[in-house]
């Protein structure tokens, strides 16, 4: 069989596994969010479905599937249905270039843990997909033909494109240091030298900017203006019901996972083990080493997810003019300067 068929088979199997993983992570996020917010507010949180309420998110999704799918009479039917599809599909498609562990050698075939983490356009693909993600929300707001939806959609898209600039610029610092757009290269560059090569130490300013923009891109508190309940009901998803609403919901939590994963990969050393692999007696390319890498990576991601939720229940929402000021007047010039300084540093220290 030609090589291309194998590539397609391998990619399809990985893709299905990753899709399942994303749904599970979204479910986990919902559960964590509800439990942690309950503890933050001195409540118990979901505790009826399954042990400690762990099956609650699955029950919610099944319920949403069975709920009536209401499409308003005045809505643009086609785009009203397309918008959630676009949101969810793009949130899934980003994972084409994201690795979650090193690699496994089976025979003479090296299998990377990720669909195409070695691809030379990785970072650009992620940025392109985040840009397309804006369309889902804008379309949802416009096609509903509802004033709240329209305002929510507009706010959300304006916010996302404003912060996308700083996000793209902060990532240039990492590209400068690594000299590659492939996510595998970015992580491998941080693996050497145990800890102190993590990009968070080389790019502290870039890290803070990326963290802030990650919150804004995922529309999470303190930047959750698109769905500021007291003023806009539900924002862009006011007119959605049933699983179409559920798709926005899933996409939002999938994006939260993606952001945490990206922060770990770009700044926190990815799957770097705390001790060299040799001292653990794990062979390069073995399944055990890949599993250990995945475990370290997953723990870091969970800590970041907790941080996302923690911030939501600690910090009040921004006002819209404050949001725009922060994005355009503070983050944009700082990230531009950061790019120039990083470039100088890379040239002089190499």
């Amino acid at each position: 069989m030609p090589e291309i068929i194998w590539t397609i088979i391998e990619a399809s199997i990985k893709a299905l596994a990753v899709v399942g993983g994303i749904q599970l992570m979204a479910a986990l996020n919902v559960y964590l969010e509800r439990k942690i917010s309950a503890f933050a507010q001195n409540r118990i949180g979901p505790n009826r479905v399954g042990p400690f309420g762990t099956l609650q998110p699955f029950a919610d999704v099944f319920k949403l599937f069975l709920k009536e799918d209401i499409v308003p009479k005045n809505a643009d039917k086609f785009f009203h249905s397309l918008a959630p599809v676009l949101s969810l599909s793009i949130a899934i498609a980003v994972w084409a270039v994201i690795p979650f562990s090193s690699y496994v050698d089976i025979g003479d075939r090296r299998i990377y843990m990720g669909i195409a983490p070695d691809i030379n356009v990785g970072l650009l693909f992620i940025l392109a997909m985040t840009s397309v993600g804006v369309y889902g929300i804008t379309l949802a707001g416009w096609s509903s033909n509802n004033k709240y939806s329209l305002l929510g959609g507009l706010r959300s898209s304006a916010q996302m494109i404003s912060y996308e600039l700083s996000m793209g610029l902060s990532l240039i610092g990492i590209v400068l240091i690594t000299g590659s757009l492939s996510l595998n290269d970015i992580v491998n560059h941080q693996l050497a030298w145990d800890g102190w090569r993590w990009n968070i130490f080389l790019q502290p300013v870039g890290f803070v900017i990326f963290l802030i923009t990650a919150f804004a891109e995922t529309n999470r508190a303190p930047f959750d203006l698109p769905e500021a309940e007291p003023e806009l009901v539900g924002g862009f998803n006011t007119e959605y019901s049933g699983m179409k609403f559920g798709m926005f919901f899933l996409a939002e939590y999938a994006n939260m996972t993606t952001s945490s994963v990206l922060i770990v990969l770009f700044y926190l050393g990815g799957w770097a083990l705390p001790v060299p692999a040799e001292t653990l007696g794990l062979k390069d390319g073995s399944i055990a080493l890949a599993a250990a890498h995945f475990l370290v990576f997953f723990i870091k991601v969970l800590m970041l997810l907790f941080f996302f939720i923690w911030v939501r229940w600690s910090i009040p929402r921004f006002r819209y003019d404050q949001l725009m000021n922060l994005g355009w007047k503070i983050l944009l010039p700082i990230s531009l300067l950061n790019v120039l300084l990083t470039a100088l540093g890379v040239l002089y220290l190499k």
Partner: protein, 118 residues
């Protein structure tokens, strides 16, 4: 060369497959008890007035324009950033001038109030 990008296409197909599957499932499995009241536009329980296809603040348009201007600059920076190690100081000064011109435009828009939000 094109084979390298096949996994991306596979993932896009799978992603959109899942998206459309979910949409179709929600339309097939969902209850159907439609009434006129359900299908009206939601406006906090009031009878909807007018349409949402109305004019909205010019500010959103300004933000979108500024975004396009600056985003194109960012796109220019990516190939530069990848190759800076091999290109050396010349490339740095070229980009320095580029960013300088960008900053002139930025301060012009700043002073003109393009980033003000009232």
């Amino acid at each position: 060369m094109i084979e390298t990008y096949v996994p991306l296409i596979v993932m896009l197909v799978v992603g959109f497959g899942v998206g459309f599957l979910f949409m179709l499932l929600s339309e097939w499995l969902g209850a159907r008890r439609t009434t006129d009241g359900k299908q009206t536009t939601y406006e906090s329980g009031m009878i909807p007035r007018g349409t949402a296809r109305d004019r909205f603040s010019i500010k959103f348009y300004m933000v979108a324009m500024s975004f396009i201007v600056f985003d194109i600059e960012v796109v220019f920076m990516y190939p530069w950033a990848v190759q800076l190690g091999t290109l050396g100081m010349t490339a740095f000064w070229t980009m320095f001038v580029f960013v300088l011109i960008l900053f002139v435009g930025y301060f012009y828009e700043y002073k003109k109030g393009g980033f003000e939000w009232d």
